[in-house]
Symmetry: D2
Subunit: 436 residues, 4 copies
């Protein structure tokens, strides 16, 4: 991250002056606008349904990201927003137990009320109230931090929105197209042969620097001994994954973790989430619609179990979270040039990248073999926001790198995304590793 | 049913002439209009959600009742309606196995597409095509019968729509009001003391006459020996049901059928479906909104298990389906005067009736102790429509009489409604019986 | 039932004198001995396991039938039997809610303690105590009735024991043989062509006479109008059922009740419970071991759903409970001669009967299309025994006739056995009926 | 481990001579005897039941540990053991997919056959055949390794046997006593105040040395950077855990991982597995029977979720697997003296140890916050035994240290036990850690 674009970073809390607040306000209004833009071309019906317990109706995201500011910024200031706030507090709290009872996640799709129109009104009231706070020029350092967190939180939900929209539209019996955000570029160049980047054993620092925004789970920055390893220089593509399937990948228990095999059997798994066979030909659903399966595109929307079985079939393994992060640290110049992490352009989403890039981070979240656990010295903060990430540190795996649906400013090398090993609706892919 | 209003009956198939076809066409256009009217005041969001597997999104009813005419009238004539028909055939077939694969009932709430707008367009296309058929003056007797069945079918779905709307709006965390159809009248007069109507043993005829429309499950008309019995002269009201609850009704296994007790325990049942306790006071959700519990209203939305336990607590029992039907036959004059069965007025739904009426049939469906079984001599017809009712003749109970949500012309003494003993979302109530 | 064997009937309560008590004592000691005899040739391990929630470990039956006498005869007399009685009261009460909390049925197979040895000791203590009561010559009429009920209760459990033993041994991966009771005789003569017995419409009396033992669910004796019908003169055999399977019986939804089809799909049903295909040949497990499928034997261990689908495939239907009972009443002489109901011989189980008998009742329980409901005028008694049968009158069907595992004195024309429509572990078969 | 007792270690494969084979033979016959001894005082009924899907009937362990030698030693030599071997291969394979289909784990309790007597005969045949192999003096190095693995495997099952026996007897409604192995010593001295052992940051080696037996999951030995930490000098005791409960531990979501809170809610958890409240007093089931809860005993049979919530309540955390292993390496002299790891005595189980020992490892397995993952450089072997441990490396946590039920020679500092975070039937306890 170069110094000249640091002032553009809405979440840089280093400078505490008017300039910084101005950029935070810009970032706030921009993130609010983007979220609404994501939903703008959907039908009301698309905003309401919940086809799986882990998917949320888009209108819920619209409301929940507003509630976050209502609850953690406005309410402590006694700035009750609307007469609806008490109801919405119950309905749109996601899981913050410290904030009292909340509506069950799995039943969000039962809520026909409040309507989309009422939720959009609520959004506008909250946005207006926060803007008023900025203009009243009385924001404390603590409030600025909470607002910055709220912006990051809403960016996370922008990606969740696209995951959920893809799931909703892609699971209609006749999948519908969604045009406003690019999915994996269909014009990606043919993949080159898989190459391997090497790293000898070393001691390195991992985790977030404190001079930019980070979540609690990326801290503290700490030292680790890393054994020598090799890292694939690109993601696995659909063609390679098809070879795995053709070789009986889903029918050979010796390739799978025990829980993975149970998952395959119980759910009768046989292909990635958005593949479907029509008249003996494979198709893949992208946000832009159903397409013939493109062997050059990175394989996407696969579970940790599938990624792990594929790696075993390749006589390789999944990388640790540190191996991916270490590689970034080792060859930072490469990363700055090649990945979206450091892209200074203003595009909300990184421009679709060619599959033949040196190290194609930023296309798909990469499953690691690192269980999601606290870093040494990790502490949850003693506030409501302290519930943020730590409570999910069990039965999940870390993913690194970001994807085509991740807002540009939301990617960073220390970012730790996490999902359950059976989850497939995130934009996930496979990068292999080997011991040196 | 008096002769002078017989010609107004859209389903009377006795006269096969122009007059009859005209009244059938009127009935058809009227039933189509009514269904849309029921949905007219809802939000799009209300039309989409499915808060329980047995509830259907209202938009599904709008489509399915159109599909019925598309599939059973137009398709046999090769009058393909729209380019959507093949998709809609898959999506909006309810359970007719003879019509091929269909979308799962429990997943109707996942369908954001087709949108409400698209479904309304489909409705108009189907309605228009049927009207054209009438005007082409070429309807065969068979086609007339199918259309008459389709009208009855759509009337059934009008009641289902109101059941589902009540469930959807009533299960919002803050239940929403629905104004366009009257629920139980809150101005019903205070209930008089429970009286008993007597019938000595006799042999009577049961089931449908062939000179008016009836479903297959009401046929054939046949003779039965009926032992002497007493039948309560009104429905049980909320006050009496509250006494049952206060006396530990839900905590005393000896009052319950074994399956009923398991149902109470598993679901932690303790009150009727739409009762809720707020600040130590009982409220009841009616379509018009939440109200303080009115002890004079008939208790509604209770399961067979609850009705049966209440009857045991009263040292009574539930009537058989024949005892209710027999009583109608025995005192037909009374029935014609007092119940909605024979009400010649033009109102779509019977006017809300006073609780002190002699025999308040037409307010709530009455659970009987008759398992839903075929009548002696029952035959399913050898057509797709033959799937209609017979396949559900297991694990269900017959209900008699109709309710405030039943279209007026859809009530008749021989009508056999049926639900599972745990179902509560229909407009059900309790009438007691005793052995003589 | 002829007068000269009435005195041999342990349950005839008509004569209240020494002679009767002597025969009741003989019946009591005999039934206790028979139960133990059934278990005598099993391994301890066989007596403990519970391979399905509805199956009970045989040792549980040994204990429960003793608890019945302990709880309903000895305890009211303050004849505490053993120091174990309080524990055993909790463990071996089946479902009598009036008798307090009890161990869950589905967890009976978790009880390694008390051991078989301890339970046999308990049996002997209870048997001894009841014999002492007889010898003390002080039994009241009420106590005699309870003991007679206890004997019938234990006879019921003798059949349940054989059902459970067949399930346990037959579900071992290598099914084990059980020799001590005859299953269906493998030397049954080839079935003759299916014939039909006719009955014209009539009014008849049904239910139990009061001058012999009967359960509450057989009473009161009452009058019914019976439409004309035809009844098959023998049970359906394996060969005919195989034709149904070959014709796609399990793959054609139009043949099944809706719940039945769901049951087939969910459980992947494709053949009767004890059939298995080995190396392209069908085998059937009988208590005496696995055998090549014998097409002449009556098809057995099928569910109501299967029986109903088979009947529809045959363009017939299942009989009502009254049609079977009526036929017995109509041609009583035939029944007395041909069926086990009236067999005066002393054999515990009726001798295996030839399939070509005129009316082969007594081989397998026959599913009827009669839901298990109360007779008009049915009243539960106001005692603990009043829980006996009435509480199961929902979601079950009546079976008539008895089977090879039914103790001889336990069969009678008015007997109403009942199971859920999906149950298959009882010795069930198919008799067809048709409307006249 | 001192050099003079190394020759007593049955699993030391360093010396490949007659002496070593003799000690391996001794170890083999001893471990076979011990397994039988553990079951010797149980009733046949106790050996058969399976009260939870994850519990195995003891007779299954008796057979499976024999099958291991039959399958991996005798079969490759074409030494077919008994005519039963093919059946037993199907029944007693646990999960080795490479060995073909196997009986479902959750249905082991349905197997009444083979009987205990038949299984004991099988054991003797297998033991005899292996002894013959030794005496034929023709064991290859590979065979010796497999036999050594089989001995370790059987030792693991000895601990599983005691876990399962405790579960079976402890879940009888009146828990039964099991005398032959000591549970936690009731005479443990009162716990001293909790102290903290410190370790500054350092780089250390972890994992197994290659000159003694180890499982694949302990290898390869590798280097790690360890941050500074504090480790509690004793386990948490019942009194301290009671304080947690009294302070609302099970009712405060902020103390729990999200999955842990769901687990508490779904299973209505409120106390450790073997605690029960009787007449307002807490009791704990130990193998020797129910006892009043002893506040000085280490709290046992708790899940990872409970351990983690307790640690959060104490403002501490669970240690990593390396922190416990590192402490052992750091103060090896202490470890050798105080823990069972290095105890040279011949007792099968370590003598019950006082709670006030410096570092009471060997009493209870200690939950760590380390997800069970492969070590850097981990490779599964390319044999059937390669299925051993690696396939379980998902959704489980590592436990360190051993317990009162662990055979003495089975404990070592590098040992990695693993269970799911909700599992409680292992002998587990809590050791706390803190960041320095």
């Amino acid at each position: 991250m170069t110094s000249n674009n640091r002032s553009l970073d809405p979440t840089n809390l280093g400078q505490k002056n008017t300039e910084q607040k101005t950029s935070l306000l810009e970032a706030f209004t921009e993130v609010r606008r983007q979220t609404e833009q994501i939903c703008a071309h959907l039908e009301i019906e698309d905003l309401v349904v919940q086809p799986a317990a882990y998917v949320s109706p888009p209108k819920w995201h619209l409301a929940h990201t507003s509630w976050f500011f209502d609850c953690f910024v406005l309410e402590p200031l006694n700035l009750a927003q609307t007469s609806q706030s008490p109801k919405y507090h119950y309905l749109f709290n996601s899981y913050y137990k410290s904030q009292g009872e909340h509506w069950l996640q799995s039943e969000r799709g039962q809520l026909s009320r409040p309507t989309v129109k009422e939720i959009m009104l609520y959004r506008q009231q909250i946005t207006g109230a926060i803007v008023d706070l900025f203009e009243s020029n009385s924001l404390s350092k603590k409030q600025i931090e909470v607002i910055a967190t709220g912006i990051q939180h809403e960016q996370q939900h922008q990606e969740l929105l696209l995951m959920d929209i893809k799931f909703i539209l892609g699971h209609q019996p006749w999948p519908a197209a969604y045009e406003s955000v690019a999915d994996l570029d269909k014009n990606l160049l043919p993949a080159r042969a898989l190459g391997w980047l090497e790293s000898t054993e070393n001691i390195s620092l991992f985790g977030a620097n404190l001079n930019a925004f980070s979540y609690d789970n990326e801290r503290p920055r700490h030292r680790r001994w890393i054994s020598g390893f090799q890292l694939a220089d690109r993601l696995i593509n659909n063609g390679e994954y098809m070879d795995f399937m053709t070789d009986g990948g889903y029918r050979r228990p010796e390739l799978w973790l025990s829980d993975g095999w149970d998952w395959v059997q119980k759910n009768q798994m046989g292909h990635p989430l958005y593949w479907r066979k029509q008249n003996h030909h494979w198709e893949e659903y992208q946000l832009r619609g159903l397409e013939p399966l493109n062997p050059n595109l990175p394989v996407s929307h696969i579970s940790f179990y599938e990624a792990d079985a594929f790696a075993r079939w390749m006589d390789a393994r999944l990388p640790t979270e540190f191996e991916i992060e270490a590689y970034c640290s080792k060859d930072k110049a490469l990363f700055e040039k090649e990945t979206a992490f450091w892209d200074p352009s203003e595009a909300v989403y990184p421009s679709p990248r060619r599959a033949c890039d040196e190290f194609d981070t930023g296309l798909l979240w990469q499953w690691t073999n690192s269980a999601y656990s606290p870093y040494p010295g990790f502490r949850t903060t003693n506030t409501a926001l302290g519930e943020y990430n730590g409570k999910f540190m069990a039965n999940q795996y870390v993913l690194k790198g970001g994807c085509v649906a991740t807002p540009k400013h939301h990617m960073r090398a220390s970012y730790r995304n996490f999902y359950r090993p059976s989850d497939r609706w995130a934009f996930t892919g496979i990068r292999l590793a080997k011991d040196l």
